[in-house]
């Protein structure tokens, strides 16, 4: 007998209650066999029995997913495990050259899929030769050559291994089983439920079941009402396409199928009309108008983007919980959307789980393994830190203790700007070494080394690393997968370690772990296929855009549509038909909410074809989908009156204000007092970033250091060669890598040349040099003492007791105006220090003749001297400038000695500092009105 269950009912619940009525003896239903399409379906039906028994204990039928049916027979070889198959195909693909391991692995999966299809549709390989016109045979040959992997090489390999493809084995098993039924009719009932057909072997098998005396078939949602014309015109994208084909194969008329608990609802009328085959839609405008009640319990949310769509869904799921016992489900193909919804549900402390599960690569263990592999590959401090901060990393200590250590190590490195090399107990270095070696390595070697380190690193104070890693659903699944991988890995080509992390990720991606138990008893997130057999009270069908639902078939690199057709394979569109069947099923839930976003990834979306069709047929009846927008969320996420903040102007008490500052700090105080406040008073220090690229700043430091060391050499050792050597040493010390050095070295050489000449000229003038001289000076400001201190890069003293203060600049030196106005006070402040003999005895009683910047950028001639003396003004007095500046400085100090004056942030935007560690803290961007760039 063949039954159909309308989607107005929950398929599994109605099936369960129907079967429960048949219980007879103490064996309950356990002698019945129920064959279902998937494991998921088995689980769903089992749970339906639970619901339908209302908690009473019952023995259920043997519920077997079709893929789990077992027949052990010597003439059915074992199937090749999917991972092994993929690895073997991958190897064959790699032999064709030019494809990296990760992609070869992915490609292997697409070839395996093609292979399965060819098997499932029983297509002889020879047919491939003749499906293209002669004129193109040359081009086609190229593809055929590649397809030889599966049509020539692959069968040979399988034969050697004495294994067969899983699809082949499944077909053989079903045939064998049917055969055994022919030999001896089974006494107990055999029921197939939830199938829609789609494959010839499956259709045959169902036909066999149909022919058994106690065989029954339960079809989901077969349309018994539509008129014959429509039924005849069905095409691939129609929801009933497969069922129609199945009935034809079984050889039964539509009218002979019996409907369990027949029911017709207005909404069913709507969807059936909307999904009519395209060729029959010209009659839409003439049909009897639909009644308004087709819209009962139906809502449509049109959202701006996935963000608001997720919130709207969350809101509606939450609403379900207000009615005790009511159930709800989000049905979507969009995993990101599901994630967003799950995250939003935390608002109400609701834990939801996406029943699509999580690929191992994103589980706790998976990320741990991948972070380890990636850190080894990049060798970057930040990647190592990501690993060390993973909860599974404990390195033999307790979790808290180890975390404390990591924080300590990190802060230390970032304060000292040193390389990050934490003293771990685990020897990660030898594993890291693999990766610095571009030699190909057998995968098992790499994998084993990886797991050794991983287990060591995961060892905690009281548990072995192995026990910590391979526990829980994710750890167990990972262990199983990697056990298999180690066993098969010798079937792979050796790989370059650089490809290992991404390959491992792809491999981990092949397995998904699903939560064993639903997180919430009443709410679920389901894929359309999972939703097939159940019917929650409220269903939210989300992501109703083309490409999302339905998902569109992807480009096939091997066969075009006409070619597939010629081969006798199914059209890619059949998948859409299956989706349509899913849609028409969930659309019949008691209460339905449709949602979609107008945009995704910044591009406008196209509404799902089914939505368009629904809208069209409604329009013909002068009805519209009850559209709601996401405006309700505005209360939640929008604000009517925002309060912008103002420039910070802290006025700390006098005793907290600094009474000694360095030369550079004076410049900061002029431009951005708030920085001084944050650094000197609040003592907030900027930590350096790890792995920062080296730049002009580091070059500057290297140049300064090299020149200082150079001038400290004995005069006869001050050769150009030595200077260059010193430079190299400094670059190395600063941590410049080869590439950095490659750029900076030529600059340094040009600079050195220029500098060396200058130096010689100065030596000829019998100058001597004071280098990096420290100085400090007490200044009396309105009766209060203030200390100015700092260092001068160099002071050149000539025999005539004149002195020149020099500052090395590797960037652009300040302009004369900035020097005079006090915004670049460095040289004049050094002048003040020198004039007041603050540099010590050797520098007393000198006449300052020049203040100059030496620009050591290494471009053009290599260097340039920028004196602050004006070129033309003959009346200019350097002393007067210095005196004037001292007055300016005193005024500045006095200003901050007044408690009413604040340490404002960037008081004059035109003169704000170029680099500022405290810009974020002062939230400058939020209030500053800027100068034109």
């Amino acid at each position: 007998m063949i039954y159909t269950i309308s989607s107005v009912h929950s398929f599994s619940d109605l099936l369960a209650s129907h079967l429960l009525e048949k219980q007879t003896d103490e064996w309950g239903l356990s002698k019945t066999t129920l064959i279902v399409p998937t494991r998921r379906a088995a689980k769903t039906i089992k749970e339906a029995f639970l619901r339908q028994s209302f908690g009473k204990v019952i023995l259920l039928p043997k519920i077997t997913p079709i893929s789990d049916i077992e027949v052990i027979s010597p003439d059915i070889p074992e199937a090749i495990p999917p991972l092994e198959r993929q690895l073997l195909l991958m190897r064959l693909i790699q032999k064709t050259g030019g494809i990296n391991p990760e992609q070869a692995f992915g490609l292997a999966s697409s070839l395996a899929e093609l292979l399965d299809e060819i098997i499932q549709f029983d297509i002889p390989f020879e047919r491939l030769d003749n499906i293209v016109p002669d004129i193109f045979s040359e081009h086609w040959q190229q593809t055929l050559c590649f397809l030889d992997i599966i049509r020539t090489h692959w069968p040979r390999i399988l034969k050697e291994l004495n294994l067969i493809d899983p699809a082949k084995r499944q077909i053989k098993i079903l045939e064998k089983l049917a055969q055994s039924w022919h030999n001896q009719l089974p006494e107990n009932p055999i029921i197939a439920a939830g199938f829609t057909g789609g494959f010839p072997y499956l259709e045959n098998f169902l036909k066999e079941i149909f022919s058994l005396p106690k065989g029954e078939i339960f079809l989901p949602n077969l349309d018994l009402e539509s008129d014959e014309e429509d039924w005849k015109a069905l095409d691939e994208t129609h929801p009933q396409f497969h069922l129609k084909k199945l009935l034809k194969e079984i050889g039964i008329k539509r009218s002979d199928v019996k409907e369990l608990k027949p029911i017709m609802t207005p909404r069913k009328l709507l969807i059936e009309r909307a999904l009519k085959p395209a060729s029959r839609t010209h009659t839409w405008s003439n049909e009897t108008p639909l009644d308004k009640n087709v819209l009962d319990n139906l809502t449509y949310f049109l959202c701006k983007g996935p963000e608001t769509e997720a919130m709207i869904i969350a809101l509606n799921l939450r609403k379900v919980l207000e009615t005790p016992g009511k159930t709800g489900a989000l049905v979507t193909t969009d995993r990101d959307l599901a994630r967003r919804v799950t995250a939003e549900m935390r608002r109400w402390n609701i834990q939801l789980d996406d029943s699509a599960g999580t690929p191992l690569s994103r589980t706790n263990v998976g990320t741990f393994l991948l972070l380890l592999a990636e850190a080894a590959y990049t060798g970057k401090a930040q990647d190592l830190l990501a690993l060390l901060k993973h909860p599974l990393t404990t390195d033999g200590a307790s979790f808290t203790e180890f975390r404390r250590k990591v924080h300590f190590w990190e802060k230390e490195a970032r304060l000292s700007e040193k390389n990050f090399s934490p003293p771990l107990k685990t020897d990660i270095q030898s594993f890291f070494k693999f990766f610095n070696n571009p030699i190909k390595i057998p995968l098992p070697t790499l994998l084993k080394a990886h797991l050794e380190v991983a287990q060591q690193l995961a060892t905690s104070a009281d548990k072995s690393g192995s026990d910590r890693l391979w526990s829980h659903e994710d750890g167990q699944a990972t262990s199983e997968l990697l056990t298999t991988l180690i066993a098969y890995a010798d079937k792979m080509e050796e790989i370059e370690p650089a490809f290992y992390p991404s390959l491992l990720k792809s491999i981990l991606d092949t397995v998904v772990v699903r939560p064993k138990y639903g997180m919430h008893p009443r709410l679920d997130i389901l894929g359309p296929i999972e939703a097939r057999l159940q019917n929650p009270d409220v269903v939210i069908i989300a992501g109703l855009n083309e490409e999302t639902f339905p998902e569109l078939p992807s480009c096939d690199p091997w066969l075009s549509r006409p070619m597939r057709n010629a081969l006798g394979m199914r059209a890619p569109e059949e998948k859409i038909g299956i989706s349509a069947h899913d849609f028409s099923h969930i659309f019949l839930a008691p209460e339905v909410i449709l949602t979609r976003s107008l945009k995704k990834n910044g591009t406008p979306t196209i509404p799902s074809r089914w939505l368009s069709r629904l809208e069209a047929v409604l329009e013909a009846s002068k009805l519209t989908l009850p559209i709601q927008t996401d405006q309700i969320l505005e209360q939640l996420i929008e604000t009517k009156n925002f309060k912008p903040i103002q420039r910070p102007q802290p006025k700390p008490p006098l005793e907290s204000r600094p009474n000694r500052l360095s030369i550079t700090q004076i410049e900061t105080l002029m431009k951005d007092p708030y920085s001084i406040y944050a650094k000197q008073i609040l003592k907030l220090r900027k930590l350096s970033d790890l792995d920062e690229p080296l730049s002009i700043k580091e070059y500057g430091i290297a140049v300064h250091q090299a020149l200082e060391s150079f001038l400290k050499l004995k005069e006869n050792e001050q050769s150009l060669e030595n200077l260059l050597q010193l430079g190299e040493k400094e670059f190395e010390k600063a941590g410049f890598n080869e590439a950095n050095t490659a750029f900076w070295k030529p600059k340094f050489e040009r600079m050195a040349n220029w500098f060396f000449n200058q130096q010689n000229q100065r030596l000829n003038r019998k100058a001597h040099f004071i280098l990096e001289a420290p100085a400090n000076l007490q200044i009396d400001v309105e009766g209060k003492n203030f200390e100015l201190y700092g260092k001068a890069d160099r002071i050149d003293i000539f025999p005539n007791k004149t002195a020149e203060i020099i500052d090395y600049k590797t960037g652009t030196p300040p302009t004369q105006t900035d020097v005079k106005s006090g915004y670049a006070p460095q040289l004049v402040l050094e002048g003040i220090l020198l004039m007041n003999d603050a540099f010590g005895e050797k520098t007393s009683n000198l006449q300052i003749t020049d203040l100059s910047y030496w620009r050591l950028s290494g471009t053009k001639k290599g260097g340039e001297i920028h004196s602050i003396l004006p070129k033309r003004n003959k009346n200019f007095s350097l002393n007067a400038l210095i005196e004037q500046s001292l007055e300016g400085l005193k005024e500045l100090i006095a200003f901050f000695n007044d408690e009413n004056n604040p340490y404002a942030s960037c008081p004059d935007p035109k003169n704000k500092p170029r680099y500022n560690d405290y810009e974020h803290l002062a939230r400058v961007q939020e209030w500053l009105i800027n100068e034109e760039e």
Binding site: G55, E322, K389, H472, A616, T639, F743, A904, P909, L921
Partner: protein, 1052 residues
């Protein structure tokens, strides 16, 4: 001319362009109904029986593609439902045919037909099209069939940097690098390489041509008439042999290298001659340096590019340009276009190209190869195939992406010739009637098109492109405001000014921003009428267009916000520079290192915690060596508790969930919007999007995410064209391409780009000019030629800007610190309008004379407007057992798996599963069957069969496999409030007892009962309880069968 006939004329032109059997080239001025023509053409094609899957419609952006698809969808949906009379009317108008009755059914079913087209309608960008071709022809193209597209700029940059690193450390490029490093740092060189974009292919092609690097060098020497032996010294020595060349020069020239006046006046003509010789030599030296720099750069950059290609190939990646390049290469091969067309599901019959003026030469090539097939190849005879191009030279503004308005003309001629020689029909259709703009705006356009400077590059000399207004009877307005100028500054230069607060409000840009904001506020507050629609102006009517994104934009946004005008935000957003995003990054950094004081301070001051300056002082001041974090516990316990919770969550949540938690559950979003305004929300959304995007290619970790975020500026492009939000839109003119607005402000009109190109092509030779000092006078004409092209593009940009406006256009300008260049937009606009100058306000208007039909109020569905109470409450607790029933979780965990490193682990695992399987099958066989069966199976690997037989032969165990037993029996039920759903591996029902057995495949089975994992015992006890319910009078016994040892253990 009356408007009726104008419209008739326009309709007629459009109808011609839409005829499905002809190929056509449509030059469509702005607002002339280009989109409609395109849509109508597709409709006509479909009606005439063209197969939908064989129509290829190429749009400029993905957005345009989606809109086009949605528009078609909407029209066809209407057709499906229209009464016959109305549909007939529409079809007549569309096709220009009288009797269309035979088309009615077809028209009606087109809607569903289009929806179900196999593979979808091909309305896409050229990039998407090329990508889909490459996906189909990987082997033919020689790329990995699973190639991925690097559409993320960031990843492309990382690859490029890697390439640079490899090349610069290669000794053979040291000499080139020495030269290049004079002009570029590592960073700026990397930037230069990134920006090379459109030159990349051109460079490669020059290299591939016979010349090679050596050839280029020779040609360059020829061009400047050097000998390859020339050096700077040798050039000097030709005129001067002493050793003070600088000193020698200063006798004749000033510092600025001009001839000294005393030399000019000198009576000795020899003096002047020498001076000129020196100048010539200096110029030659420049040229020499240019050649040297160019060669060094070419050598280096080409090596880098080659390496970059290598790396991409290795990783199976293609960048955006590659898509088109590879498609072009693919189609170039002989006979390939035909094969491609054949295999693309049977081909393409009609190609439509939109925005053709901005199509790059490589993209044109792709189209050309496809068309080649149309008009000569295989398909020529059987079928009608057409090409349809819509474009407007005047709107070509993407030169920086490789577009070229001259190519547009060239392609026009080329296709026309191809089509006509193949005896197909061809039409040139100009569309100059604007349906968009009112008369004053078109007046301005027409003035500009006649303006001596403004028209350069926009229209050809002989062309008459006078724009006619179809809306001539509607009210419109153009206002040109005088330029906002610098106030005369009292420039007293203060020495050491005290750090008191200055404001910059006197800046012209800031003043203009305010003015505009106030004007808009007035429009809205006073409900000014949009006369053509007879309704008050809404914020969504207004669009502000600028040339570039700069500080002025931020000022504008701020000014609008201060005046409470809703702003839609900017069309681009540099995410990592957004304050809210910076706060979130800091929060993340804090969570990764709580001892980072400054970062914690930033977090505390952010809107999330909103600590005041005083509170921060109290927390931080005088804390000695303590961290800020250690102070928080005592002084801010609430914040401490929140952060502590987040610290714990960081270990369990991936970045996306963590940040969603912060923004939603902890109400972070609310806090940000309150302080920063609503449009901050977009940055937050984008931030979360990035968190999702990050995980697509990276292993989730907060550390990794932040590193990735900060590795590069992330610019988010946003479409503002949809009228979903009623707010003022601000965007660049480039961004406004294809858009329109009722009211347009154009405030950024004084800027004129005047950047000297750093790369020019002289006679097909590349020349790198990294610095002005090395520009020889010889290069000047070429540099000027590029500058001229820039100016022409600048003019076209103005045309695009002005024509965005439908009803009103406001033009303003502001002075910047730099002197403004002549013929900037503002100057051209005010001088183009007869009788006006730049100093007075200019107004052009037109009257509304057209009657406006009353608008019907559309009934809207009643929406819930207020968030319900339960929204703010946690979910109610669920009853135990839950209702409806669902299985409960066991208390105990599964024991850990053995390590994959355990020897022979895989075999053990497989053995376990296999035995499990055998145990399902074997019991149902007779002993004899069993023995032969096991013998037949070759299971040496596992040594299992013997063992198994022992099991069945064991007298004690016999009853386990008797006929009263069943395998794999699912059981459900409730006991003690627990909901059980399980499966019993072996169930035996005997008269007085029931036995249940579970098979366990653990590799190390426990020796005694006390070592059995607690979960197993829990499970078996649960089954026992269930069965007790079912078989109340029988004894229930439970066993575990350890398959590794084949030992049976009873649980008691």
């Amino acid at each position: 001319m009356t408007s009726l006939s104008l419209k008739e004329e326009a309709t007629k032109a459009q109808q011609i362009a839409c005829q499905p059997e002809i190929s056509a080239w449509v030059s469509a001025s702005a607002g002339s109904g280009k989109t409609k023509v395109l849509t109508d053409r597709v409709l006509n094609l479909l009606l005439s029986g063209a197969e939908a899957e064989k129509i290829l419609c190429i749009t400029f952006t993905k957005t345009a593609a989606a809109e086009m698809a949605n528009r078609l969808n909407k029209i066809l949906r209407e057709w499906a439902m229209l009464p016959t009379s109305e549909l007939t009317q529409q079809l007549q108008k569309l096709t220009g045919q009288g009797d269309i009755s035979h088309l009615l059914d077809k028209a009606r079913s087109l809607f569903a037909y289009i929806l179900e087209v196999k593979g979808g309608m091909k309305i896409m960008t050229i990039h998407s099209f090329c990508q889909s071709v490459l996906k189909r022809f990987p082997l033919e193209t020689g790329i990995s069939p699973s190639f991925e597209v690097l559409d993320d700029n960031k990843d492309a940059k990382i690859l490029l940097s890697t390439a640079i690193r490899i090349i610069v450390t290669d000794a053979q490029y040291a000499e080139s690098l020495r030269i290049v490093s004079d002009y570029k740092t590592e960073q700026s060189f990397t930037e230069l390489m990134q920006s090379l974009g459109k030159e990349r292919n051109k460079l490669k092609r020059v290299l591939d041509s016979a010349m090679g690097l050596k050839g280029i060098e020779e040609k360059l020497y020829q061009l400047f008439s050097f000998s390859p032996l020339d050096t700077e010294e040798s050039l000097i020595q030709k005129i001067y042999t002493g050793d003070d060349w600088e000193g020698y020069q200063s006798q004749f020239l000033t510092q600025k290298k001009e001839i000294l006046s005393k030399v000019k006046k000198s009576s000795d003509p020899h003096q002047l001659q020498t001076a000129q010789e020196i100048l010539e030599t200096l110029d030659k030296i420049k040229a020499l340096k240019t050649v040297q720099a160019t060669m060094a750069f070419l050598k280096l950059s080409l090596a880098v590019l080659e390496k970059y290609e290598d790396l991409k190939r290795q990783k199976g990646l293609l960048d955006f340009d590659d898509l088109i390049l590879y498609a072009r290469h693919l189609l170039e091969e002989s006979n390939m276009a035909a094969w491609v067309l054949y295999k693309l599901d049977g081909g393409i019959d009609h190609i439509l190209v939109d925005e053709a003026q901005d199509t790059s030469p490589d993209a044109w090539s792709v189209i050309q190869y496809l068309c080649e097939e149309f008009f000569s190849g295989q398909g020529r005879s059987e079928k009608n195939r057409t090409l349809f191009v819509v474009g407007d030279r005047k709107q070509s503004i993407y030169r920086f992406q490789g577009a070229d308005p001259d190519a547009f003309e060239k392609m026009h001629a080329l296709f026309k010739e191809r089509v006509l020689t193949s005896k197909h029909e061809w039409k040139d259709v100009p569309l100059n009637i604007s349906f968009r703009s009112t008369q004053p705006i078109l007046d301005l356009v027409n003035y500009l098109l006649k303006h001596q400077h403004a028209k350069a590059g926009v229209v050809l000399d002989h062309e008459d492109t006078t724009h006619l207004a179809s809306r001539e009877d509607e009210g419109g307005l153009v206002e040109v405001w005088p330029v906002e100028e610098y106030e005369k500054e009292n420039k007293i230069e203060k020495v050491w000014p005290l750090p008191r607060i200055h404001s910059n409000e006197a800046l012209p840009s800031v003043r203009l921003a305010r003015k505009i904001a106030i004007r808009i506020k007035k429009m809205l507050a006073e409900k000014e009428l949009l006369v053509s629609q007879n309704r008050p102006i809404r914020p969504g009517d207004i669009m502000i267009l600028v040339q570039r994104r700069n500080q002025f934009l931020s000022d504008l946004v701020r000014a609008l916000k201060e005046n409470n005008v809703p702003v839609a935000g900017l069309d681009r957003l540099i995410l990592t520079q957004d304050m809210a995003v910076m706060d979130l990054i800091s929060l993340g950094e804090f969570l990764l290192l709580p001892e980072d004081d400054l970062t914690l301070a930033e977090v505390l001051k952010s809107p999330l915690f909103n600590l005041s300056e005083e509170e921060l002082f109290n927390l931080a001041y005088h804390r000695g060596v303590q961290t800020l974090w250690s102070q928080l516990h005592r002084k801010q316990p609430t914040i401490y508790a929140q952060l502590k919770e987040l610290l714990a969550l960081t270990d369990t949540m991936p970045p996306f969930e963590l940040y969603t938690y912060i923004l939603s559950v902890l109400k972070g979003r609310e806090a940000f919007l309150k302080q920063m305004g609503n449009e901050a929300g977009e940055a937050l959304d984008e931030f979360l999007n990035l968190a999702l995007q990050f995980e697509k290619t990276n292993t989730p970790s907060l550390q990794g995410f932040l590193k990735w975020l900060k590795s590069d500026e992330i610019e988010i492009k946003r479409d503002l064209e949809q009228d979903t939000i009623d707010a003022v839109r601000i965007m660049t003119v480039h961004g406004s391409k294809g858009l329109q607005a009722n009211i347009v402000f154009l405030p950024d009109t004084c800027r004129k780009p005047n950047k000297a190109p750093s790369f020019v092509w002289m006679n097909q030779l590349p020349l790198w000019l990294p610095r002005k000092e090395i520009q020889s006078s010889l290069c000047i004409p070429w540099i000027n030629a590029v500058k001229k092209q820039d100016e022409e593009e600048y003019n076209r940009l103005l045309y695009v800007a002005v024509t965005r406006a439908k009803d009103r256009l406001y033009i303003a300008g502001y002075e910047t610190g730099r002197p403004s260049l002549s013929n900037n937009w503002h100057e051209m606009i005010s001088s183009a309008i007869p009788g006006y100058d730049a100093k007075t306000k200019i107004i052009l208007t037109s009257e509304q004379t057209k009657q406006i039909p009353e608008k019907k109020e559309i009934e809207t569905f009643k929406e819930e407007k207020v968030l319900p109470n339960w929204f703010f409450k946690e979910a109610p607790e669920e009853p135990m057992p839950p209702k409806p029933l669902s299985p409960s979780k066991m208390k105990n965990e599964e024991p850990p798996q053995a390590s994959p490193l355990t020897p022979q682990q895989e075999q053990a695992m497989r053995r376990g599963t296999y035995i499990h399987r055998l145990l399902q099958v074997l019991p149902d066989m007779s002993p004899k069957e069993r023995t032969t069966f096991l013998k037949d199976l070759q299971l040496k690997e596992f040594e299992a069969p013997l063992n198994l037989l022992d099991l069945f032969n064991n007298q004690n165990l016999k009853k386990l496999f008797s006929s009263n037993s069943l395998s794999e029996v699912p059981i459900v039920g409730t006991v003690n409030g627990l909901v059980i759903s399980g499966q019993i591996d072996r169930l035996v029902i005997l008269p007085d007892e029931v036995l249940i057995v579970d098979f366990k495949t653990n590799t190390n089975p426990p020796k005694q009962l006390s070592d059995v994992p607690p979960l197993y015992i829990e499970q078996m006890n649960a089954y026992k309880c269930l069965l007790k319910n079912l078989f109340q009078s029988k004894k229930i016994r439970s066993f575990l069968l350890w398959t590794t040892t084949m030992e049976l253990m009873e649980l008691k």
